[in-house]
Symmetry: C2
Subunit: 338 residues, 2 copies
DNA sequence: GACTGGCACTTGACCCAGGGGAGTGCCAAC
DNA sequence: GTTGGCACTCCCCTGGGTCAAGTGCCAGTC
């Protein structure tokens, strides 16, 4: 028995099942793919594939459907890249150009990704801890309030208002501004935070209260976990495609995308490559039958955060993978411009 | 036949149907409410209520369910206010205190509202056009880039980066800063935008390119429709409660909450009072069986934006209405502090 | 005139059996 | 290794029959 053909059969089963959503039998398989052998032969291959755990039958007299292991094999060895159509490329481009700020980029990319893949799209906001400080501004407001603005290399702008106990002198502020700049410019945020902490003692004791208040607020902003966890979700309407059984198929996903923590886990570590996690590989037991396609994105060569889609395991992997990496590429480029 | 009792019957039907999700018959009605009459009498009342269009039967031999008109009557005349429990009050309070910025306030309130009502919660970000300018900052960045920061009375901070053709002098910038401040401080954003436009001609012709670039960007920021349309949605998992028929009950809502424009329409105009829109009153044909409870919220006495919930018409109106107005109150207070 | 008990009627929900069809596994033959 | 044939399995659909809930109506009572 030829090993090659057996893999061809697996590929055909995955493709057909993804297309029709129905168990695929030996007869329809030979009809739709020119395999050059009879249904009986295919059946032999099928039992072999089933023995190895790549496919399974919902019930005795039904066709076969791929198992998670089958999908994995498909993704790893059988899928051929499916380049985006020019129309799709153009869609991404027109969607993302015209974004005015980082918020906008994220919102738009989540929309376009959901639309391209017909799945639920997830985009993590550019990570703070992985960016560097591009600019810090300290602005006196009315009274003893001070506005702090941090601009990061990823174009993200964070601001905080600090209520001070006394109104600081202009001189102190400009001094502070200069020293903060010297200490943090170009540094990664976590390091910048450390540098700032060291800085407090270099100031006159009288100024300490003001300096401390400002510097610690900045530090907090730099290491603020919450903003590192920000996530945008889109395409919830595509949950329809998860199947008809609401309770087992749709509800868990709906619940997962409400929980930022779960979502972050799903997206996974921002490794640079495209990652596909199928079924149990998602690390979430309640998400049987769902798969996550994710990748890191970043300005330049630096990974800033992750984005991806979550959909049913019976998804069009080549198309989804192409869309995810294309959007990631464009988002990275778009952020570099901001 | 007593009109009073007939309304009592309607109230009982609404309450039972909301509680059980099943058509309610004359027998169970007299059992669960001490109406003091026999099922047969109730039946007579029921045909009257049905003739007037307040209730209907799914099929000939089933119990009655309220029509949209019935719910409306219930909300308008029959519902008794159901004050929040102390635990619920505390939940709102602890959820909203500790919010670091406006973004955070909105995110948290959408969560708490969804949790309290077990419905889909919608919170519109504080409107820009209805706020006034609290502070504007113009900061020179590296090269010929300039950072513009706008702080509004609602605590919202918008920022834009402008790429200029030439590097402006410090003197020009501080002049600009002063004049912009004078022209816009305390003004509503649309008016501030007009004032800025008038300002350009008061500058030296040589400075015009720089001034124009900065001022028009500010203007755009003030009148940016997109940010006026920003909305947070939460509690999508509660869609479960909309019923079991995915296509007719859940999908339309899912689609609606993906579309900002539709959402904004749903929330409706930011009138000051609590508004309940039932079925067709939502103005959206595909949302049969859903109702929207919304209200304006604001700092001080000024309406800034709207928030609310969308749920099935068979919802617990008194509880939902109480939760929505309570959250609105707290959000308003919380924004005033920021 | 309002209320009540009784009763026939309607109708969806549930259960069960039987036929049809798609697909399989196995086997003997090539 | 491949193929056609064939018996078998099991889901799906349909139809009929029962059941329970609830109604509408009517005659009688207060």
């Amino acid at each position: 028995m030829s090993d090659d053909r057996r893999l061809d059969v697996l590929r055909a089963i995955v493709e057909d099942y993804v297309a029709t959503q129905e168990p695929v039998g030996s007869r329809s398989l030979v009809e739709r793919h020119h395999l050059g052998v009879s249904p009986a032969t295919i059946r032999n291959d099928m039992v072999a594939l089933e023995d190895e755990g790549y496919i399974t039958q919902p019930h005795t007299s039904a066709g076969r459907i791929p198992t998670d292991k089958g999908y994995r094999m498909f993704v790893d060895r059988l899928a051929t890249v499916k380049p985006l159509s020019p129309a799709e490329r153009r869609a991404i481009e027109t969607f993302l150009t015209g974004a005015v700020d980082v918020d906008d980029v994220v919102q738009r990319s989540v929309r376009v990704l959901a639309q391209l893949t017909n799945q639920v799209a997830i985009v993590q906001y550019p990570s703070l801890t992985r960016s560097t400080v591009r600019h810090i501004e300290v602005v006196a407001l009315e009274g003893s309030r001070v506005l702090l603005v941090v601009i990061t290399s990823s174009g993200r702008v964070e601001q905080r208002i600090v209520e001070l106990v006394e109104t600081p002198s202009d001189q102190l502020l400009s001094d502070l501004r200069a020293r903060i700049g010297r200490a943090t410019l170009g540094e990664r945020l976590p390091e910048a935070s450390l540098r700032l902490a060291d800085m407090i003692e270099t100031f006159d004791v009288n100024d300490r209260p003001v300096v401390t208040a400002i510097v610690t607020t900045l530090s907090q902003t730099f290491t603020n976990e919450r903003s590192d966890e920000r996530i945008a979700v889109g395409g919830a309407a595509n949950l329809v495609r998860f199947g008809s059984d609401f309770d087992t198929a749709i509800r868990p996903v709906l619940e997962a995308i409400e929980e930022q923590v779960v979502l972050l886990k799903l997206l996974g570590e921002a490794t640079s490559g495209l990652t596909v996690r199928i079924g149990a590989e998602t690390g979430n037991d309640s998400l049987v039958g769902t798969a996550v396609v994710s990748t890191a994105y970043g300005a330049d060569d630096q990974a800033l955060a992750t984005l991806g889609t979550v959909g049913p395991t019976r998804m069009d992997y080549p198309a989804t993978m192409a869309a995810v990496s294309a959007v990631a590429r464009y988002v990275g480029r778009s952020l570099a411009d901001t």
